[in-house]
Amino acid sequence: MIETQSTAKTLEQLIRDVGRDSQRFATATVRADDLPAAARLLVREEGTAFADLFAVDDRDRSGRFQIHLIWAFDPSAAWLDLIADVDPTHPEYPSLAPTLPAVGWYEREIRDELGIEPRDHPLPRRLRRPADWPPETYLLRRDLDWSTTIPRIPARAEDELPPLAVAPEGVVDYPLGPVRSGVVESGHYTLRTVGEEIVDCRLQLFYKHRGVEKRAEGLSILHAPLVAERISGTSAFAHSLALCQAIEMACGAVVPKRAQFLRTLFAELERLYNHIGYQADLCQATGLGVGQAQWEILKERLLRLNATVAGHRYLFGLNVPGGLSRDLIPPVFGTIRRALHDLRTDLDVLEPMLLGSASHLDRLEGTGILRSADARAYGAVGPIGRASNIDRDLRRDHPYAAYDAVDFAVPIVETGDALARFQVRLTETRESIRIAEQVIDTIPGGPIRAEISLPAAGATGFGWAESSRGASLHWVAIGPDGTITRYRARPASFANWQAFPLAVPGHNILTDFPVIEQSFGLSFAGADR
């Protein structure tokens, strides 16, 4: 995929071009004030979807800030990156949130970390920035050094979310977290209940904000994938794959075919252990202990398989710019094939048992319904979106690695409840095994790593991968000295968490909450970065 500048004269022409020409990553510049109009045009395009919105401190090069609005064109497997310049002395632009509810969080993040104000944003409050962090200290501006000690200030009321209205008689607010029950990630919920029924869910994430994007600045392209892997360790392969693909686009590198196939294989191995672990977590939430134990056994076997074939249980250290760091010898393919065969045999036994466990299904059916319209408005991706009738999957719609060389189905369910999310992942597990087997059957020989030559003037690139939780998008800017000047990571969980609170109210009782949370199966680390 080559990044090109369009020759279209108007935005409408540009959109038509991108909608026609396949496999392009097109960039175009627009005025910041025209962004809402552009968003309105794009929203009307059939089969397209919002992908990412972020900003870059480009003052070293152009003297300006840049806002990037990235849009996915599924029918033509293309992307459009609209770039708007912003004057650093008056950093603001008209908010896109009224047109596109999905960008709400993205604009708050830009506001927090680059200080670019979205005019008329419905909720201009801090998002990722810690409560005690001075508002005028902008994390992603290049003049802030990663190792600086930032003083703590008292939290300001005008920057926090407005407090929930005082609970009237009979209404109880449950604050949960950030330290929560069990071995779980840190995050905070406030559940407002009337009797048993939950009427509102307020989310407070970003306790785990480590500044991953900032950390990558100044790093070489060999070190950056180590950072990408540790955004969310259970999506390590997907994130490092997307980042490496972004670097490869920036450098114009062509990844050898064998590496593409191997990447596909490892990506599916990652999806498999995640989906299997998801079933174990869901059994834990519904109280099916025997089911939980059986699925945990399967997950452990897959992690041990990863350790045997890749040297790491979570597939860290495999993706490098240009391909992979290690190859697999033929006997290893035999090991993987046998493991997949055993897995399928186990699934043939366990799936019907799970589907026949009334206690398990009863707790999932009708619980935590995320309506299709809400899922679409808030940009839900991955199995969560597909369980709410959003028919999108990066592997099929924007093929990368070797996904265009394998055959697989993408399950869609319309109901949007916990049962739907459970069903989608069950089917995806089967399809994953099929993909992995096809890769093993058809993998070509050859090198597994291409030479990377860094462009002298610096370059930018965009990469994507469908992680087990959905679309993981990464953008990178490499400077003339070959180090990263800006790293943008948009894990799937960041998109999906926005939709989560919408699934909680609506005939769900308090004890349904763990089931809803586990049925989404999202990553806090991915959202917080």
């Binding site: 540790r230 025997v290 041990r304 009334a358």
Partner: protein, 148 residues
Amino acid sequence: MQIAWLIRGLRTGVVTTRYPREPETLPRGFRGLPVLDVDRCHAADGCNDCVQACLPRAITLDAETRGQGDTGRESFAVSEEAGGGVLLRLNYGACIMCGLCVAACQSTAITMTADYELAVRQPGDLICAATLRDQGAHHESTASPEPN
């Protein structure tokens, strides 16, 4: 349905490890612990390939103690040996076992083992320090760690 789960459980049998009563070895190729072979190391001749490759700066050379103002890694006073030489220090507390040092080393002086029993009570025990004097120096642990 409960019977089905029960039967499945009985068929699965016991998969539980007996560790630590019985040792468990991880598969060959597992990235457990990078180990230094001082006899092959050329740090004293000016090589610092592994130091360049290490992102968390778990491998450092000479007086590169990481004080509070820097990345803030564990810093330990090291007694100076008369007669020159280079001090190479591996801090296993910061090591992420990525293996880039192994890949970068041209002399096969660092190899990855599958060791995993690395737990310690004192952070000083996670520091491996070696003074290297030209080629063929033997290992002397000159570190006198002051636990934090």
